[in-house]
């Protein structure tokens, strides 16, 4: 998941400092906010093999990449993960594993440590067993807690990643206490970004402003209590701020994501722009994809901007917000991100917030991330 608010602002001087490998879209969980494409099974049987990933790693270092994320789907489903981590370590990356914890047993943890893995980011949805298991569509709460403690016992720095939505926002204090008990180094309350599965479930997931304010107060109290012991990231989501996020530090600026089938993406959500082509590492080397690909050049820099962005004093700070969000909500990626209060489309965002908070709205069940749901959604889209 892109790290809203936790990315160090820096000028990559045109280098893809941050490389993210989505090793697979397969996952044993069914999170209804999943950021993977709705048709996530498109890459089944088509994933890059070990040697292809190793080539990506080599070419990434040649381009100056330093930070490396192994993610998915669930990267533990790849049994060559240890081999890829070892190769990445040899090449000089800072290696991060982003996992749900499912499949991370002690044997593999030791192997990953030996392969030089630097950091593990584990997702947790709630401090409550029943709620967690129902939200992720699997029995995994106890396992996640066990894995969290095991990660710490092997001395890995750990980020606990907690997606924030209506169902868990009021548990912030309990989650903070649980993280403290585990000995987490970084606790990240990650606002859901409403694309793909999260967009389908937006009305059921959006927290209320009052919830976010309570959560923020709990975070502030914990920061005062814990001082340096735990770093806590918490940002009020763009939907509530009237201010867009400086998405990915700008398009094609420092981030490069490779999808399971080798497609090069400026961010993990970019594939939802169905009118852009996303060539793969099977057709081109990484240098061409990063430097020459029309998709990466399209929104690089500030020249693509229109009003109100083009004459705005904020444009070098927030880069006009998120291109994917502009596309998804307005149908045109060149528009100002509707999360911005200056966007003529800002009403789309404030309406969604108001609708989700309306006590009279019809409650809908969460649509879980399953192949069956994907098929049904596809059929609905085809038949209008």
């Amino acid at each position: 998941m892109p790290k809203d608010g936790s990315v160090v602002r820096l000028d990559g001087e045109g280098k893809p400092l941050w490389l993210v490998l989505e090793l697979t879209y397969r996952c044993p969980l069914k999170c209804p906010w999943c950021s993977n494409p709705v048709d996530f099974d498109r890459c089944n049987g088509n994933e890059l093999d070990t040697d292809e990933w190793k080539r990506v790693l080599r070419e990434g270092r040649e381009l100056g990449a330093l930070q490396l994320g192994f993610t998915g789907g669930e990267p533990m489903l790849r049994d060559d993960l240890e081999e890829l981590v070892a190769e990445a370590t040899r090449l000089g990356y800072y290696t991060n594993l982003i996992t749900s914890g499912v499949g991370l047993n002690e044997g593999r943890l030791v192997a990953l440590k030996n392969a030089g893995l630097k950091q593990i980011q584990l997702s947790l949805q709630s401090s409550d067993r029943a709620l967690t298991d129902s939200l992720i569509g699997a029995t995994a709460f106890d396992l996640k807690i066990k894995v969290a403690r095991m990660i710490k016992s092997y001395g890995f720095p750990m980020v606990l990643n907690v997606p924030v939505f209506r169902q868990n926002a009021d548990q912030t204090a309990e989650i903070l206490a649980l993280a403290e008990d585990i000995g987490v180094d970084y606790l990240e309350f990650a606002n859901i970004q409403y694309y793909n599965w999260a967009m389908i479930n937006r009305e059921e997931l959006l927290p209320t402003r009052a919830q976010l304010e309570r959560a923020e107060a709990a975070v502030k109290a914990a920061r005062e209590r814990l001082g340096d012991r735990m770093t806590i990231y918490f940002v009020i989501p763009d939907y509530f701020e009237g201010k867009p996020k400086a998405c990915m530090n700008g398009w094609g600026s420092i981030h490069l994501t490779i999808a399971p089938d080798g497609a090069a993406l400026p961010c993990q959500e970019a594939r939802l722009m169905t009118d852009l082509a996303f060539p793969t590492v099977r057709e081109h080397d990484l240098a061409w994809l990063w430097n020459e690909s029309p998709t990466f050049r399209k929104f690089r820099g500030l020249d693509w901007m229109r009003e109100p962005c083009s004459s705005c004093s904020e444009k070098e700070t927030d880069f006009g917000g998120c291109r994917c969000q502009a596309y998804l909500l307005t149908g045109d990626a060149c528009n100002t991100d509707p999360a911005c209060g200056k966007s003529p489309h800002h009403g789309l965002v404030t309406d969604a917030v108001a609708r989700a908070a309306d006590p009279a709205r019809t409650l809908k069940p969460l649509v879980m991330r399953t192949e069956r749901a994907a098929r049904e959604l596809e059929r609905e889209a085809e038949h209008g």
Partner: protein, 99 residues
């Protein structure tokens, strides 16, 4: 009288890089870098030279002497700089005082 543990570096202190961080030379940046969960710091020359000596071996006094040799001229300014930088780096969590 109880002794108050000062946060300021002392001449006999030794520092080490926080084990959560990876510190190394990076050719593509022509600089020392610090890599850590979710972050990259590109260090300027002075910062790089100081952190290189946070190896658990050098005392602060050793560092000062070596840096005064590498950057001859104003010895007092170099010494001040080392102390000031160490304090900042420790506050940022990049380095830790060795027991």
């Amino acid at each position: 009288m109880t002794e108050i543990k000062q946060n300021h570096p002392a001449a006999t202190d030794r520092y080490g890089v926080n084990p959560m961080y990876l510190f190394r030379w990076e050719d593509t940046q022509n600089a020392y870098v610090l890599l850590y969960p979710e972050g990259i710091v590109k260090l300027n020359q002075t910062a790089g030279e100081i952190i290189k000596r946070c190896d658990g071996e050098h005392t602060v006094a050793d560092m000062v002497i070596e840096l005064q040799q590498s950057f001859p001229g104003d010895d007092e300014r170099v010494a001040d700089g080392v102390y000031r930088f160490l304090e900042v780096f420790r506050a940022k969590g990049w380095i830790r005082r060795q027991a």
